[in-house]
Symmetry: C2
Subunit: 116 residues, 2 copies
Amino acid sequence: MSFTNMLPVSDVVACCAPLTREAMTAEHADDLARSLRAIADPARLRLISIVAASANQEACVCDLIEPIGLSQPTVSHHLKILTDAGFLSRSKRGTWAFYRLVPGALDSVARLLVTA
Amino acid sequence: MSFTNMLPVSDVVACCAPLTREAMTAEHADDLARSLRAIADPARLRLISIVAASANQEACVCDLIEPIGLSQPTVSHHLKILTDAGFLSRSKRGTWAFYRLVPGALDSVARLLVTA
DNA sequence: AATGAATATTGAGGAGCATCAATGTCAGTA
DNA sequence: TACTGACATTGATGCTCCTCAATATTCATT
């Protein structure tokens, strides 16, 4: 996945009618597809899920590697994709990196899918 | 995309708490990711959009090729993916194939994404 | 400074996917 | 039966992406 020209969800869904209201433009379709691709992966869905279900709605990478069952570089890779896409935010404290959900990001995408 | 073991959205989302309520299982993540991958493509998003915005909420392939701007086999390919995933239904009348939205399919996915 | 721990980045291999040209299938028609 | 039109399938090509090993970076501790 090339994440040059990645723009966060909040921009993608700032405007615009839901998917089924009127024929969408090619550009709008590209943007929404980019956001959807970021969450269309089982490892990333589980990362989101674990982060959301964690105490304080945040988790550090060290807490995510074992439950996900992938290598540390791969987990970091997925976290970067989710962060670049605007679904997660990152804050570093000491040597640890903590990730948390960006409020409303998932809901924005969900709103675009909903029918009427 | 291998569509062996493809199961429609309705089954994927029959049960289960939204993504952020509790840590999801690997199987559930796989299923949801499969559904999301089906719509995480600009051409397929536009197909859904055009079908939904058409008169009677249905459109035949011949009406879709020109606005999408891809070859006829490619459009058929995308329509098959959306149909297998449970987002579109197909009905053949004469030599024409008409596609329409499966009611509630998109909403089911949207419900899983929504936060709390 | 040197060491160790947590995370990120790089590079590579292999699987998956979008696309098209060519061909196949099937219904309607002459 | 032959032919035409609408759509589906097959096969090939090139690109995208997931994954890991190896390496780099960054921060705290000694």
